[in-house]
Amino acid sequence: MGLRKFSLKAFLKKNLDFIAGVLSEVGLTAVFIAVAALICLLLVAVKALI
């Protein structure tokens, strides 16, 4: 009577959200890394042109 009804849908959604969130954060750091790599490439290219 006092127990919450277990919802498989809610349980799966919570865990999928969590996993997707972890992957998203890793993806965000990948964006940081990619832009930094681009900066390094551009700097060397600019120096070669000068």
């Binding site: 959604k13 959200d17 969590f18 997707a20 969130g21 972890v22 998203s24 954060e25 890793v26 965000l28 750091t29 990948a30 940081f32 890394i33 832009v35 930094a36 790599a37 900066i39 390094c40 490439l41 700097l43 060397v44 120096k47």
Partner: protein, 503 residues
């Protein structure tokens, strides 16, 4: 009118310090597991003795200083400030008794560096330290990054008020869940997730790069603890350079960048609010400042012909910049090379970004991205005001989990803490220069301590003068507490001296 201090005030502080000490006493037993795994039975008595001492002192304090009076903000700030000192001294005991450091002062430096997730190290011969002591160093960073005081007091909280006050006094403004205990558990859950992810990734790369499985996992768990807590300790004296591995550096980058994000941000994204990644003021601020600083540092190194290829610039300039800005402290450049090889421009830029720091309410240190973002927006607002008609109402807002108006109170708060950090920076730089170090190196090392970063240009060493070690312990401590708690403690002490203590 500030009321006189009473004995009850001191009892509240002492009682709560005792509660923290009890948790520390128990936590100091955890590395014994590592001692058993690696059959380092000679180390076990050192942890037992230190733990026992902590438990004796703490239980006596809790029993004899028990008081029914409720904790107020001033008590919470003092508990937060003194707890770091108390924890530093207790946890230094095993490091000193196992001769892992040259002196008890060095051991205190090491544990303060651990708890504040700084990463400056005075450990002697890290490569030959026992596995359990090496684990212990990284473990201190992990629990320090979680805000061990918060954990201690919410686990043992008598009232929500006391817990909230301690939470706020540790520089953690945001409450993620309905009450502080649940918030602490959420923080722990987030940290555990990335600890497991980091350990697995580091271990896989370690095995791939030719290390044996056992070492890969041991180094993996230590680096995961140091990376997520943006601490920067490493089981090897060469730090990340030991591995000579680009994939290892990438894993480190991923984990320590994640570690530098706000816990409220983590909570939002992990709960499904992924748009926060693009709207959050801290993520935007740190992205801009990190990319700009990478540009300046890399350009400087390229211009002065220190490094020449894009790969080298990325692995040295960006890695070091990211390590500095997130206040992690992992290094792929020797400290002496930072001083002798890196030109002044990139080295000074590193000092600046170390002070700017990571996101608020994260494991990172420094002024914090939210304050930098708020002050930048405040500047834009002032420019807008100047360009607008007199009668126009110019308002600005920022997004951090939710949209918040940029009020003068918010800007004032950000500016005050920033000024505090700058004052600490000037004090630390001046003291370092008084000992004969040059200006650029002094600024670098001071920013590293104040911002709880851990990168060194060679100033920090066991041969460093004792008073300089004490200065850096103070800088790491004050930086971690964002100055306010330290100032309240000083205020308490002055009040006690001037007016005495009422019974």
């Amino acid at each position: 009118m500030i009321p006189q201090l009473t004995r009850e005030d001191l009892k509240i502080i002492g009682y709560n310090l005792g509660r923290v000490g009890n948790i520390i006493g128990v936590l100091m037993l955890v590395p014994i597991v590592i001692s058993i795994i690696y059959q380092e039975f000679d180390i076990i008595p050192h942890f037992i003795a230190a733990s026992a001492l902590a438990l004796i002192l703490s239980n006596l304090a809790v029993h004899f200083l028990n008081t029914k009076k409720e904790m107020e903000l001033k008590h919470a700030l003092c508990v937060a400030a003194l707890a770091w000192i108390f924890m530093m001294m207790l946890t230094a005991i095993p490091l000193y008794t196992t001769h892992s450091t040259g002196s008890y002062l060095d051991a205190n430096f090491e544990t303060m560096s651990g708890f504040t997730t700084t990463g400056l190290s005075l450990a002697q011969d890290v490569d030959h330290l026992s596995h359990s002591i090496n684990f212990y160093r990284h473990y201190l960073q992990f629990i320090g990054g979680m805000g061990i005081i918060v954990v201690a007091l919410t686990v043992l909280a008598r009232s929500e008020v006391g817990s909230v006050l301690t939470f706020k006094s540790e520089g953690r403004e945001e409450i993620l869940r309905p009450n502080v205990a649940r918030t602490s558990r959420a923080i722990f859950g987030i940290a555990a997730t990335f600890l497991v992810l980091g350990t697995v990734l580091f271990a896989i790369v370690g095995i791939y790069e030719g290390m044996n499985v056992g070492t890969s996992f041991f180094d993996g768990v230590n680096h995961a603890m140091a990376a997520f807590s943006t601490g920067g300790f490493s089981p090897h004296s060469q730090n990340i350079l030991y591995y000579h591995s680009f994939p290892y550096e990438i894993v480190a980058l991923i984990i320590f960048l994640i570690g530098s994000f706000n816990f409220a941000f983590h909570y939002a994204v992990l709960s499904g609010k992924r748009r926060e990644m693009f709207k959050n003021i801290e993520i935007r601020t740190i992205f801009i400042t990190l990319m700009l600083s990478t540009l300046v540092i890399a350009a400087g190194l390229l211009y002065f012909n220190v490094y020449s290829s894009p790969e080298i610039l990325f692995r040295k300039a960006f890695f070091q910049a990211a390590s500095a800005h997130t206040t992690t402290g992992f290094g792929t450049v020797y400290p002496a090379q930072m001083s002798n090889v890196w030109p002044n421009l990139p080295q000074t830029m590193m000092s600046i970004i170390m002070l700017l720091g990571a996101c608020a309410n994260s494991t990172g240190g420094g002024i914090k991205a939210i304050r930098v973002g708020i002050m930048a927006k405040a500047f834009f607002r002032e420019v807008k005001k100047a360009l607008s008609p007199k009668t126009a109402v110019v308002s600005e807002k920022y997004h951090h989990i939710s949209d918040t108006p940029l009020t003068d109170t918010v800007v004032k708060g950000a500016a005050l803490i920033t000024i505090g950090y700058i004052v600490l920076f000037f004090v630390g730089t001046t003291v370092t220069m008084l000992y004969g170090y040059n200006g650029v190196d002094s600024m670098y090392e001071t920013s590293s301590a104040v911002g709880n970063v851990g990168l060194s240009c060679g100033v920090t060493s066991p041969a460093m003068p004792s008073m300089l070690k004490v200065t850096y312990i103070f800088l790491m401590w004050a930086g971690r507490l964002e100055i306010m708690a330290v100032l309240v403690l000083v205020g308490f002490a002055i009040l006690a001296l001037r007016k005495g203590i009422k019974k």
